[in-house]
């Protein structure tokens, strides 16, 4: 299965899985859900992340979620799994080093804080 077929397949699967989806509701409940979905597809298409490696991680995450019992809406839990699987698959493939994501998150927080401070000063 090529990454493109795989993502179509995954899209169909997600669509089928999400309750309420049949009434034309949005597939993604928040923009970040679409973006992490797109990032994985882009990495797979660029040959950086083997689709199978990601899929295996995703399956493991979903199994774990289901074992624990999904806390809230399946749709939210599903993309939480995507996000965790993305981080783990990327580390596994050595695309990101340990601690790198947390450092980037800190940098983003600082940048946002700087914008807020500048606005408060200006306002």
């Amino acid at each position: 299965m090529t990454p493109l077929d795989a993502h179509r397949d995954m899209l169909a699967r997600i669509s089928a899985d999400i309750p309420g989806r049949s009434d034309g509701g949005p597939l993604f409940r928040a923009p970040w859900q679409a973006r992490i979905f797109a990032l994985i597809v882009a990495l797979a298409q660029a040959g950086r992340l083997p689709w199978r490696a990601f899929q295996a991680r995703l399956a493991a995450e979903i199994t774990e979620m289901e074992t624990k019992g999904a806390p809230e809406g399946v749709e939210d839990g599903y993309f939480d799994c995507w996000l965790r699987a993305a981080g783990e698959a990327m580390s596994q493939q050595r695309l990101i080093a340990p601690g790198e994501v947390d450092a980037q998150i800190d940098a983003l927080r600082e940048a946002i804080q700087a914008i807020r401070s500048a606005q408060t000063a200006a306002g």
Partner: protein, 198 residues
């Protein structure tokens, strides 16, 4: 200019922040081409896409009672079209006229009425747009190719976690004969953000 300080989306927290970090690292390391990533996001945009907003605009153009309702209570009028997906925030629809042109921004992050407009474009999230459209809206709009007469007042609306804006563009001339579907096809995302006229 309507601009208060308020709490914004928890967008910069938790999942959204982590996704953004992963995205930035992937681009910085050259693992993905940002253009390719945008193209894929655009593919999904059609799933949540701006066509919902276009349907709302087309109905408002065709039905004066709906237009009045939409401007008075955007949340309810949009929900009437089946577009809900909002998480407690209100929708306010602002109408472009000959005298007033509206444009939306989220100065702190990227709050966006995504149930009607899909995913925000990259430029909407850029620091340059967020900062500049407030200070010099006329110049920013000109860069988008939208030259407004000096007599047109420009209003900038800052989106928050509590309230999201949608611009109701002016109906193009010569479209009297068109039905709602044909009208919706004329409505663009940028038209509903206010960075384009139709």
């Amino acid at each position: 200019m309507p601009h208060d300080h308020h709490d914004h989306d928890p967008l910069e927290e938790g999942a959204a922040l982590r996704v953004r970090a992963l995205e930035e690292l992937s681009v910085a390391k050259g693992l993905v081409d940002p253009a390719a990533l945008d193209a894929i996001v655009e593919y999904y945009e059609r799933e949540t896409g701006p066509r919902n907003g276009a349907a709302v605009v087309a109905r408002a153009w065709s039905d004066p009672a709906y237009r009045d309702w939409l401007l008075r209570d955007g949340t309810a009028a949009i929900a009437d079209m089946g577009f809900t997906g909002f998480q407690g925030e209100h929708m306010r629809v602002v109408e472009n006229t000959e005298e007033v042109h509206n444009v939306i921004v989220c100065t702190l992050c990227s709050c966006y009425p995504w149930p009607v407009l899909g995913l925000p474009p990259t430029w909407y999230k850029s620091a340059a747009y967020r900062a500049r459209v407030v200070r010099e809206p006329r110049a920013v709009l000109a860069e988008f190719g939208l030259e407004l007469p000096e007599t047109t007042e420009i209003r900038v609306w800052d989106s928050t976690a509590e309230i999201r804006y949608l611009v109701l563009p002016r109906r193009p001339a010569g479209t009297d004969a068109l039905d709602a579907d044909a009208l919706a096809a004329l409505v663009t995302r940028n038209g509903m953000v206010g960075t384009a006229a139709l």
